[in-house]
């Protein structure tokens, strides 16, 4: 294989080694060409949805604290861990269903708009398309559960919403706009924003020379590994919330 960054052809004995991007290698998204990835039709929308469900998930618990309803809730079902689990299941299921519906509408509409604008769409298998849709909806649903858990810890609506958005949306935004490459890579491996990898539809090809950065839709973690990072944060937040719910007065 050619050294990275090397483009062109080279003759060694009877064989040719050709490297670069063009007709003999898969087309990639990025700086070259107007090709679009399917997730470009939904990525902004899925972040808008993350912000909306962040507010929803936060209010689902902080509004109870604000109104004092939480005391009634905990009087009615004194097993507090179970209350938290029930809330997590409800908010997760509702936002996942809403997310699937929203993405399933947004994807074909967005792709049609991109095509009518003269942008070729990079083809993907049906399975990959399904994974992108499910991944985006799962990102939305887990973000809602994370907001619920942080809300149970902080018990302040505005603070909770800010922490959720600063944890999921802001690191991604920084990674694609402001941060140097190393820091962008680190941020998309460690923060909850790593879950955006679940929407990546085009893999990085080692034989194709291209700019494989988050700005062009290539993330440092594999799709499900990135999603697992968000899940790990959410499980940790839920555990802390359950612990504090037991420890503190309501």
């Amino acid at each position: 294989m050619a050294p990275p960054g090397w483009t062109g052809s080279r003759q060694a004995g009877a064989g040719f080694t050709v490297s670069g991007s063009g007709d003999i290698a898969p087309v990639v998204a990025g700086a070259m060409g107007a090709s679009k990835r399917i997730e470009e039709a939904i990525s902004v929308g899925s972040f808008a949805a993350v912000i909306a469900v962040g507010v929803l998930g936060a209010l689902f618990i902080t509004a109870e604290y604000r109104r004092g309803l939480i005391r009634v809730t905990l009087a009615a079902s004194p097993r507090r861990g179970r209350v938290l689990a029930a809330k997590a299941i409800v908010i997760g299921a509702v936002t996942f269903a809403a997310g699937i519906a929203g993405i399933a509408i947004a994807l074909p509409v967005g792709l049609a708009k991109l095509r009518s604008g003269g942008n070729p769409i990079l083809p993907v298998t049906a399975l990959t398309e399904l994974r992108v849709i499910a991944g985006a909806a799962a990102l939305i649903a887990v973000a809602a559960v994370l907001a619920l858990a942080i809300g149970a810890v902080l018990r302040r609506g505005a603070l909770t919403v800010t922490v959720v958005i600063a944890g999921i949306v802001l690191p991604y935004l920084l990674a694609i706009t402001a941060l140097p490459a190393d820091a962008a890579d680190w941020v998309l491996r460690t923060t909850p924003a790593a879950a955006i990898a679940a929407e990546q539809s085009i893999p990085a090809y080692p034989q194709v020379t291209a700019v494989y950065t988050p700005m062009y839709g290539y993330y440092p973690l594999a799709p499900w590994a990135g999603f697992a990072v968000l899940c790990a944060w959410t499980v940790a937040a839920l555990a802390l919330a359950a612990f504090l719910l037991h420890r503190r007065d309501a």
């Binding site: 808008a48 909306a52 962040g54 958005i165 920084l174 140097p180």
Partner: protein
């Protein structure tokens, strides 16, 4: 005791018994009283001090981390803008500034305190103006410390990381404009958030709307690639345009000049405050 003195004393005692809003006062006096009331409320609200400290600490910490992470071995630098890089923390600091502003009014709606406030000061728009003055003043002060701290930290960190160009310094006009402009940027974000929170009346929803407004525009510009649209979006996006104030390199490539960019954000803030003021006048509290 003479009769006139007695009458005077009686009148004074009577005025003290009246609700303060019924006592006629000059407009300067009432503005000062509104400002004093809002200052007392924000100063004594739990968490304001911590949030102001968080603006300073988070802004400086993220800026230092961004400056520390840049490594550039190419001759002639890597096209990084040292001032902008050192002030990266403003991305996070603005979220905290928005919380301070949102809680200044949203907290009152949450507890019902707002009805007491308006009973004491029936001129609702002057209440909003007083809140705007207190919030923007506090955020401006915290933002000045935060951005000056960020630039000073980057001055210590950046040498040796291979950036081209003259070293970062607050004595340099462009770097000083970037730093002070970032403080003004944070204050304008506070005013924008105050206006939105006044219109929405719910803290959590208001902060979601403000951060959505700030963060979704640049995500949209990252996916829109056609020239004219992209340029227009970058000119009207509150965060993208406002942060033009931090640019010290490639200024001619920006869609707006730095001060025009900050002006675009100021227009957003003014629009939000207008919307909030109208909502205050037209609705029940």
């Amino acid at each position: 005791m003479s009769r006139t003195l007695l009458a005077l004393r009686l009148r004074r005692a009577w005025t003290r018994l009246l609700p303060s809003s019924l006592v006629p006062r000059s407009s300067v006096q009432s503005a000062a009283r509104a400002f004093g009331a809002e200052w007392t409320k924000l100063r004594t609200a739990g968490g304001t001090g911590w949030l102001l400290l968080a603006v300073v600490v988070l802004t400086a910490a993220v800026g230092s981390a961004a400056a520390g992470s840049v490594t550039c071995h190419a001759a002639g630098g890597c096209g990084q803008d040292p001032a902008k890089l050192s002030l990266t923390g403003v991305y996070l600091g603005q979220a905290v500034a928005a919380i301070i502003a949102v809680l200044a009014i949203g907290g009152e709606y949450g507890t019902g305190m707002i009805r007491v406030t308006f009973a004491a000061m029936p001129r609702r728009v002057s209440v909003l103006a007083a809140k705007a003055a207190v919030v923007s003043g506090l955020v401006l002060a915290a933002g000045t410390v935060a951005s000056a701290g960020s630039v000073l930290a980057a001055q210590l960190i950046l040498p040796g990381h291979g950036l081209a160009g003259p070293p970062l310094s607050l004595g340099n006009g462009a770097d000083l404009r970037a730093a002070l402009g970032s403080a003004l940027y944070l204050a304008l974000i506070g005013l924008l958030a105050l206006g939105v929170a006044t219109a929405v009346r719910n803290s959590a929803a208001a902060i979601g709307i403000v951060l959505g407004l700030l963060f979704l525009f640049p995500l949209l510009t990252a996916t829109v690639s056609t020239g004219a649209w992209l340029r227009h979006l970058e000119q009207i996006a509150p965060m993208t345009a406002g942060l033009d104030i931090q640019a010290t390199a490639n200024i001619r490539a920006l869609p707006l000049t730095p001060w025009q960019g900050l002006g675009a954000l100021a227009a957003w803030a003014a629009g939000a405050l207008l919307l909030g003021g109208l909502a205050l006048r037209l609705r029940d509290a």
